[in-house]
């Protein structure tokens, strides 16, 4: 039967009710069943709950937010995008549980300028964290822990503590632009000297220590009024460019009688150029600290949105040394978010001579451990999620200057944990190295790795799995 298009069609039965059509028990009137409503659930890709909270916080504070720990940026490439390809037919593996693998690491020995290069038993050492950011007990425990396994620590910018000097058999003395606690008498007791040009967590900015942590002892060591918010200078007071840096390094060599190596530490931004400049200016060791590096306190935006990731900084740093003929002379140290022996081994394979750990060492000390839960709660956090180092109210006594909280650091037990952690990650490194057929951890190479993503391959120059060639354009 032909249908007359000009005439509206009527069901041959009673029209259904709107409720029956909605088929949703009237739970949400006027909405089809199972379809989520943008009215209820939001879902703006710009105004996520985090973005809204950020605006609300800034509107209340009238300034940037400050916090400790390290970057929360979820999109950084990680070392997990690389995998080792151990020896099979083309190479011979070493017996992982039996044969030996050399881990001795020499820093500053290649330039021939230094009377006493630094010799470490393992290729990992403890990063520079200041007294001020950390409590004296935490610094001391790190020193003992490092000494036990034959590696070293670094003072950080707050000057040298007597107890730290005593605990740490090998101690690098740091000079940041603000020059807190820099004293020639301490300089003469140091085993190495580090000139800081920047740090990975917040390159292009000086340190920050909030008033809560500027205790009488910190204030005395840094010559600061007690309780002020210390914002350190970012530029060195007495040199500006590369040429001046060369004169400055010479001065420091003269002041230390050419005895100890001079380190230059940079935050990873333009490592290819910065490393070349540091090496040519006369550094014995260049330390490149990636964006995942930790800090006691920083404007949050700098943590999350400045610097380049550690993974992407190693290749250009190594190439810079190769290009200016400094490989084998100037040592390269990599740091910034290294969590394990696996990460460290990958750094070595990509071209680092040694690896520095900061946050990982703090966690071994006791950071974020599940004790004193009430105190984490008071800070609005919980063990495993704490990043409140800036408050000076560290529940485990590591990043505090409060004498009561500091007592929670059991120096002996913490030192032992640090020593065991360093031992364990060294085992992890040697296990990987031996599986790749290497009798020294320093023989690990890029060929021992494959990239699991195009991005990781492009960033590191490591061959892409499957393709067996480097992704490049």
């Amino acid at each position: 039967m032909a249908h007359d298009l000009n005439k509206s069609y009527q069901f041959p039965f009673e029209p259904p009710s709107e409720e029956d059509i909605a088929f949703n028990d009237n739970a949400i009137p006027n909405r089809p069943a199972g379809v989520p409503s943008s009215y209820d659930e939001g879902g703006s890709t710009r105004w996520t709950p985090d973005a809204i909270a950020e605006v609300q916080a800034l509107a209340q504070l009238g300034r940037y937010q400050v916090r400790g720990y390290n970057t929360f940026n979820k999109r950084l490439p990680t070392f997990d995008d690389l995998t080792f390809v151990p020896a099979t037919m083309t190479r011979l593996p070493l017996e992982g549980y039996r044969e030996s693998c050399n881990t001795t690491t020499i820093l500053g020995g290649g330039t021939g300028r230094v009377e006493k290069p630094i010799e470490l038993k393992i290729p990992v050492y403890i990063a520079s964290m200041s007294f001020g950011a950390l409590s004296a007990s935490a610094k001391t425990a790190l020193g003992y822990g490092a000494s036990k396994v034959g590696t070293m620590t670094c003072t950080g910018e707050g000057g040298m503590l007597d107890e730290e000097r005593q605990a740490s058999q090998c101690l690098v003395y740091q000079m940041t632009p603000s020059r807190y606690g820099v004293d020639i008498n301490h300089l003469r007791q140091a085993d190495g000297f580090e000139l800081v040009m920047g740090q990975g967590a917040k390159p292009g900015t000086g340190g920050l220590l909030l008033g809560m942590k500027v205790s009488p002892r910190v204030s005395m060591m840094r010559k600061l009024p007690e309780g002020v918010d210390q914002r350190s200078t970012v530029r060195h007071p007495d040199f500006l460019g590369a040429d001046d840096l060369a004169v400055k390094i010479e001065e420091l060599r003269l002041a230390t009688d050419f005895r100890i190596p001079i380190f230059v530490k940079i935050g990873a931004t333009r490592p290819r150029y910065d490393v070349a400049i540091a090496a040519k200016a006369g550094a014995d060791v260049v330390v490149v600290d990636g964006a995942e590096g930790g800090t006691g306190a920083s404007p949050e935006l700098l943590l999350n949105h400045t610097g380049i990731p550690t993974l992407s900084a190693i290749k250009p740093a190594r190439e810079a040394l190769d290009e200016c003929g400094m490989t084998g002379k100037v040592s390269l140290v990599i740091s910034g978010g290294i969590r394990s022996g696996v990460d460290a081994a990958k750094c070595l394979a990509l071209g680092a001579d040694a690896v520095m750990i900061g946050n990982a060492a703090m966690i071994a000390l006791g950071c974020n451990s599940p004790r004193y839960e009430q105190d984490y709660k008071k800070l609005g956090t919980s063990p495993g999620a704490c990043h409140h180092c800036h408050t000076g109210l560290c529940p485990v006594g590591i990043t505090t200057q409060d004498p009561e909280l500091e007592k929670r650091v059991d120096i002996a037990a913490s030192a032992e944990r640090v020593a065991r952690f360093l031992t364990a990650i060294t085992m992890e490194i040697t296990m990987l190295a031996k599986s790749c057929g290497k009798s020294s951890v320093h023989n690990l190479e890029s060929e021992d790795l494959r990239a699991l993503s195009l991005e990781a391959s492009a960033l590191t120059g490591v061959k892409m799995v499957g393709m067996d060639k480097v992704f490049a354009w």
Binding site: L61, G62, R63, V66, S178, R179, V182, D183, I184, N185, L187, L208, L210, G211, M212, R222, K223, L224, P225, G227, V228, D229, R231, T233, P237, D238, F239, D244, V247, K248, E250, E251, L254, A255, T256, F258, A297
Partner: protein, 230 residues
């Protein structure tokens, strides 16, 4: 004891400094000749002997000085006496940038003008400038005193902590978070008595004492609006 003469010329600075140090440690006075404005002369000297430098010197002369009494006959380059903890440095001419940067103690006396950022980040000691104080001098100085008798350049005493900058004459501009306060008579006496050691005392001077405005001291932890003034 007789003065030892050490010639610099084109010799290695390491060698020259080792000779200066040895002489100073044995308590001898030293006259360093033919300095050719070279860098890093007399760095990190440990004892209180006298060392004179002929002519002008380059960067970091007397850097990290730990007690020696140095005199530079003419001008000095950048960072003279940087980080020094004790001793005395006289610059008879003019000084380059960052004289006494981050010094902890001792005194530096500049007869001419100072360069910019004189006494930057200093943590103790005294700097006396007979001429004009260069721009942004006393920047973030933590402690100690800068005394300038011939006025000061722009951004004077910028963002200083607990240091003091004393100026006679025109100040081109003050740095952020600073204020000029009326000095107490006993403070003026103490400054004049420091100057009297150089025959520079003059009770008729009109002093401007610059100290921190202290608004930036508690910025992050307490006072949020302070930063808006920059």
């Amino acid at each position: 004891m007789k003065e030892v003469e050490i010639i610099v010329g084109r010799r290695s600075i390491r060698e020259v400094n080792e000779e200066i140090k040895a002489a100073v440690l044995s308590g001898q006075s030293v006259y360093v000749r033919e300095t050719l404005s070279r860098h890093n002369l007399g760095v990190g000297l440990p004892a209180s002997a006298k060392v004179r430098f002929e002519g002008s010197v380059g960067y970091y002369c007397g850097g990290l000085n730990n007690g020696a009494i140095l005199e530079i006959e003419r001008n000095a380059g950048w960072g003279t006496g940087e980080g020094m903890s004790d001793g005395h440095i006289t610059i008879n001419g003019y000084a380059g940038m960052a004289t006494g940067a981050s010094m902890l103690g001792g005194t530096i006396h500049i007869k001419g003008d100072s360069g910019p950022r004189c006494g930057v980040a200093m943590k103790g000691g005294t700097i006396i400038v007979e001429g004009k104080l260069g721009y942004q001098s006393g920047f973030m100085s933590h402690a100690g005193r800068i005394i300038a008798l011939g006025g000061a350049g722009v951004s004077c005493a910028d963002a200083l902590w607990a240091g003091e900058v004393w100026v006679v004459g025109a100040i081109e501009s003050l740095g952020v978070d600073t204020k000029i306060v009326e000095p107490q008579p006993e403070e003026v006496d103490s400054v004049e008595s420091q100057l009297s050691q150089y025959g520079l005392e003059d009770s008729s001077r009109e002093w401007q004492k610059i100290v921190s405005g202290e608004r930036l001291w508690y910025f992050e932890s307490r006072e949020a609006s302070a930063w808006l003034m920059i």
